[in-house]
């Protein structure tokens, strides 16, 4: 599957717009992504190792449900195909 980044996130993936990971489910794909781009870990995960809600994830254009942010089992149960894409929208506001 493909992870897609833009904006402020690009510097944590060496300015690669897309990162390809071959894994059968979303949890393993996420682990593969963090192994490939370790600078992402503190940015993507909070201190409880949950995905930060600041990064909105779109799986093939559909906003992903809240459980995929905090439940590793739900991520494990989510099978992914090579043609699937997860888009990270990181909309960081200013004051």
């Amino acid at each position: 599957m493909k992870f897609i980044f833009s904006g402020t996130m690009l510097r944590f993936v060496d300015y690669s717009h897309e990162v390809e990971i071959s894994e059968p489910n979303f949890e393993l794909a996420l682990k593969g992504l963090l192994a490939k781009a370790p600078a992402l870990e503190g940015v993507l995960l909070d201190s409880n190792k949950n995905l930060r809600r600041t990064h909105q994830m779109f799986l093939n254009g559909e906003s992903m449900e809240a459980r995929y942010y905090s439940d590793a089992q739900a991520r494990n149960a989510l099978a992914v195909q090579p043609t699937d894409s997860v888009y990270f929208l990181t909309a960081i506001a200013g004051g």
Partner: protein, 396 residues
């Protein structure tokens, strides 16, 4: 004791009901306490007087968003937005609604900690207008690169850095402060003006000069553990707060736009060119028509966004409708302000008329509550993601 008139408003009050409340209960206050010195305050970069916010607390405006169990009105964010809109019409100093929106919202961030000591020391006095709080977010660098750092030392937090710009900082007793910790996570901490190592200095800007804008310096500021307000994902908490506040910055603009049009038409009617008032010239009528279209469109966009907020029909972290509304209302306000100056010539450009001051105030939203260009990028990214995926799947 008689309940303040604001208690007649509720979560489904119509815009007209809110307008009538502001006209009957607040217009005289603005006319006597805020408007007469607006130009002089702006020139002197002097903050709106603290007494104005004590009055706002007495009438239930400052504490409108606060829960009832700490002395607030428990009012809805939708209705508060409508209040700000109509205050923008009656109040000639745009700094007042800007500061009010900040001071009214910050207590809720502290309230959510549920710590009795913080409720007693800060939230209860804030409900009475005895203490005021602002938030210190803007930093040198983006949220992943904040220069303000917090380090844990035994059971204390030590803060160092400079936060660039705070609305209402000149009057604020406390600052809800955002800093990066050792793990590069974002932490939210409550800083008291009286804490050793805290200092502020005024920041001079193009507009909103009476909004008490400050820069906050933190030098080895040592805080007890109870001052930590954030949980495990401080970044999401900060973004939720900022997203929910985004509309408030433009609510007063919509009322002010209406006021500008009225003042402009009244003035143009007194200017005689070629033997007739300027209001009879078709080019002037077209300008005024364009201004009216921008104001009415902004009003419609604002009310729709506020209704969505009222229904809870928004994305808490980044809402495209709220973001688009802030973006477009700001652009409309700027265009309308510029047209008012074009129409009124040297008077509009000078301080004889208030248009240049309104125009400068609108400019604050170019960079405030997320810069316009950043919002455009974010909305563009969301749109392109949806279009791209829909095309992949053959959807129309």
């Amino acid at each position: 004791m008689q309940a303040p008139a604001i208690t007649q408003l509720h979560e489904r009050s119509t815009p007209e009901e809110v307008r009538r409340y502001v006209a009957s209960e607040l217009e005289a206050f603005f006319a006597t306490q805020i408007n007469p010195e607006a130009t002089e305050r702006d020139e002197a970069c002097e903050a709106v007087p603290r007494g104005a916010f004590e009055h706002a607390a007495q009438v239930g405006l400052l504490n409108y968003l606060m829960p009832k169990d700490v002395g607030g009105m428990g009012g809805s964010r939708r209705t508060f937005g409508l209040l700000l809109e109509h205050i923008g019409y009656f109040c000639n100093d745009m700094a007042f609604p800007s500061m009010l929106a900040m001071y009214a919202d910050v207590p809720n961030v502290i309230y959510r900690s549920r710590r009795p000591s913080l409720l007693e020391a800060y939230v209860h006095p804030m409900a009475l207008g005895k203490k005021l709080g602002t938030f210190a977010y803007t930093d040198y660098g983006d949220a992943f690169d904040f220069q303000t750092r917090v380090v844990r030392k035994e059971d204390r937090y030590v803060l160092n850095g400079t936060k660039c710009l705070q609305t209402g900082g000149a009057l604020a007793d406390v600052f809800v402060t955002y800093a990066r910790d050792e793990a590069d996570d974002m932490k939210v901490l409550l800083v008291d003006r009286s804490d050793p190592g805290v200092s502020t200095r005024p920041v001079k800007t193009l507009g909103l000069r009476s909004a008490g804008l400050t820069q906050l310096k933190l030098e080895d500021v040592t805080l007890a553990e109870e001052r930590l307000l954030s949980g495990p994902d401080g970044l999401a908490e900060a973004q939720t707060f900022l997203n929910s506040r985004r509309m408030f910055v433009v609510c007063p603009f919509v009322g002010a736009m209406k006021r500008i049009i009225e003042l402009c038409v009244v003035h143009l009617d007194t200017v005689i060119r070629e033997g007739r008032p300027l209001t009879q010239a078709q080019t002037v009528q077209a300008h005024v028509g364009n201004m009216a279209a921008r104001q009415l469109t902004s009003e419609a966009i604002l009310h729709d966004a506020l209704d969505r907020i009222g229904r809870g029909d928004i994305n808490q972290l980044f809402d495209p409708i709220i973001s688009a509304a802030k973006l477009i209302i700001t652009e409309n306000a700027l265009e309308l302000g510029e047209r008012a100056i074009r129409l009124t010539g040297w008077r509009g450009y000078s301080k004889e008329l208030p248009f240049e001051r309104f125009y400068r105030a609108f400019m604050a939203a170019l960079t405030g509550q997320t810069a316009q260009d950043v919002l455009e990028i974010q909305l563009g990214v969301v749109t392109m993601a949806h279009v791209g995926f829909n095309q992949q799947r053959g959807l129309r």
